[in-house]
């Protein structure tokens, strides 16, 4: 549905997007994830048409669109700052794209009420944006973006201005709406949890390039680069060597790994267990209660490892424990530029 072919965008001497190629399938929820300045928003703006690529092609539904202005692309967009028109009511905002198409008033009215129903804002059509909460404003923005019946919905960090509870609630709604409408969605976020929870596939970006494009599970469980391993999820990166299918530090560890040579073993907190027969011996330096679990920080063989455990019977700070390692874990080869 959306395709980028070696797209490059520069701002002066800064290379914001560096030869990015990706393909988003029809009906897919696709996230661009990365830290600030990684090029994810620029990539989205290239799809929207607010920016023109210096090189490469942008295609939507097979048609090359990189020379088309935003109003001629089959897209809807939701912004971080809601971008509602303050001089218009909720009804006026949602009706805006429909009125531009000069639809009959009755048809506009019917469609607006239908959309407001869909985003649970029925009855608020007479209010102005300033009379709504942040969550309600973002729902209006979503309804407005859907009004034009776009083929692709672009979402630029739409939840990051909201507080945690509303964010979680709206996240579920977004997913539901996308499923119900069957829209293709491209979602920009720096929040890994959001990306993993919402997406069918995630592209992790760094310095204008794609580091990895994969399913949320693939990104989390099989990161291909040290950057992805560090950026997504918690975990310790243990330096060592892969040899004969096993990880070696100063001795062989009972952890199967793929590849050969020097690199890092990724140990996620939930992959480690406290066990009498554990391979590593260490001391709990910090135990943090997080409600549904307790996160331990264990010092073992000069490493600081995080372990997530159920709260019942979890060791306390200062106790000595033995840690059982997973049977296999991701092994990431050392890359010079990432040192």
């Amino acid at each position: 549905m959306v395709e980028l072919r070696t797209v490059t965008k520069r701002y002066g001497r800064t290379l914001a997007v560096n030869g990015v190629s990706l393909q988003v399938e029809e009906g897919e929820f696709f996230s661009l994830l990365g830290p600030s300045g990684c090029g994810k928003t620029t990539t989205l703006r290239l799809v929207a048409g607010f920016e023109r690529p210096d090189a490469g092609e942008v295609r939507i539904a097979g048609e090359r669109v990189d020379a088309l202005p935003p109003e001629r692309r089959p897209i809807g967009m939701v912004f971080q700052s809601y971008a509602l028109f303050p001089n218009m009511t909720v009804f006026g905002n949602v009706a805006f794209p429909l009125r531009l198409r000069r639809l009959p008033a009755e048809k506009v009215r019917k469609r607006v009420l239908e959309l407001l129903e869909m985003v649970h804002l029925a009855g608020l059509e007479g209010r102005y944006p300033k009379e709504l909460s942040g969550g309600q404003q973002q729902r209006v923005a979503l309804a407005r973006a859907l009004a034009r019946e776009p083929r692709v919905l672009l979402l630029d960090e739409p939840l990051s201005a909201l507080d945690a509870k509303i964010r979680e609630e709206l996240r579920g709604e977004l997913k539901r709406l996308q499923r119900e409408t069957g829209l293709t969605a491209i979602y920009v976020t720096h929040d890994q949890e959001e990306a993993l929870a919402l997406s069918d596939r995630v592209a992790v970006m760094r310095e204008g390039r794609l580091e990895q494009v994969d399913t949320p599970r693939g990104i989390y469980e099989r990161p291909r680069t040290l950057f992805v391993a560090r950026f997504v999820g918690q975990g310790a990166l243990v330096p060592g060597e892969a040899r004969g299918g096993l990880f070696h530090r100063d001795r062989p560890w009972p952890v199967r790994v793929e590849g050969e040579g020097r690199g890092y073993l990724l140990l996620r907190p939930e992959a480690l267990r406290v066990s009498q027969e554990g391979f590593l011996e260490g001391r709990v330096v910090l135990a943090t209660y997080l409600g549904s679990l307790v996160r331990l920080e264990v010092e073992a063989e000069g490493l600081l490892l995080r372990v997530d455990l159920p709260p019942e019977g979890a060791p306390r700070a200062g106790e000595r424990v033995r840690l059982a390692l997973p049977e296999s874990a991701p092994f990431l080869k050392e890359v010079k530029e990432e040192a």
């Binding site: 929207a48 048409g49 607010f50 202005p69 935003p70 109003e71 692309r73 897209i75 809807g76 967009m77 912004f79 971080q80 700052s81 809601y82 971008a83 509602l84 028109f85 303050p86 001089n87 805006f96 794209p97 531009l100 198409r101 923005a141 407005r144 973006a145 009004a147 034009r148 672009l154």
Partner: protein
């Protein structure tokens, strides 16, 4: 409380100076407006509101007020329209942007008397380039064109200020609503009128009041270009009050008229502050 007292103490020298420079003349003018003082009859007698009633019945004063109304409408309307147009143009990605800014700012940097003198030469019926281009027409000497010509000279100077204020307004607007409008299918024209213009209205409102206050007080251009003439064709209220006081020597009558003007300006200034707090 201590902080407030210190603040007041620090502001006191300035306030005293202001009271001396602005307050005393105002009080003196108020006193004069309540008497029948003229330069020919300095032994003033108390008249109550008599001079104010005289002012309202003075057909020349009423003519000056009406003329000022037309002048203000013309200059402010044109200034805002042209200022908006220039601001929108300057808001685009233009080559040599600094040069454009300089060109637009220049008229604002010249004193109104200087502007008057420059245009007096341009409009001179024998030496001026415009008179040459228009077959020797005397724009300032012909009652049919004098007010309009005066207004256009004023607009030439005021537009630069309006353009810069509106440009600052445009620059400060969030760009997302505009981008949202484009994504929703709006053309640049539709996006401007339906999104940018309404967002710019608070700035336009403040500018409108500022311009009206400035134009109601127009004096220097009239003095340099037409002296209120030909006849009374450009006899704007500020200039008429000046003539009443220093040519007619009727200081008490001019003071009463001056107070009418002051009250009108104060009312507009109050509106301006209200607009400012809303903006």
């Amino acid at each position: 409380m201590k902080g407030r007292g210190t603040g007041l103490l620090l502001a006191l020298p300035g306030l005293l100076l202001l009271a001396g420079v602005v307050g005393l003349p105002l009080l003196y003018a108020l006193y004069l407006s309540l008497t029948d003082y003229t330069f020919l009859k300095p032994s003033a007698a108390f008249q109550g509101l008599g001079r104010y009633l005289d002012a309202l019945q003075d057909p020349y004063f009423r003519h000056a007020l009406a003329l000022t109304g037309v002048y203000v409408g013309l200059t402010v309307g044109l200034t805002l329209a042209l200022g908006l147009l220039l601001a929108v143009l300057l808001h685009q990605r233009l080559p040599f942007r600094g040069l454009h800014y300089l060109a637009v700012s220049l008229p604002m940097l010249i004193a109104p008397v200087g502007v008057g003198l420059i245009w007096k030469m341009i409009l001179h019926p024998e030496l001026g380039i415009l008179a040459y281009l228009f077959g020797g027409r005397d724009f300032l000497g012909d009652a049919r064109y004098a007010l309009l010509t005066l207004a256009l000279v004023d607009v030439w100077q005021q537009t630069s200020f309006a353009a810069l204020v509106l440009l600052a307004g445009l620059r400060s607007l969030p760009k997302e609503p505009l981008e949202a409008a484009y994504v929703d299918g709006a053309t640049p024209w539709q996006a401007f009128w339906r999104v940018t213009f309404p967002l710019l209205l608070p700035v336009l409102g403040v500018l409108l009041i500022l311009q009206v206050v400035a134009e109601v007080r127009t004096y220097d251009l009239v003095y340099v270009l037409t002296r209120g003439g030909p006849g009374t064709a450009t006899d704007l209220v500020s200039f008429y009050i000046y003539r009443k006081a220093f040519l007619g020597l009727d200081l008490s009558g001019a003071s009463a008229m001056g107070y009418f003007l002051l009250l009108a300006t104060l009312a507009l200034t109050a509106l301006y502050y209200r607009g400012l707090t809303r903006a």
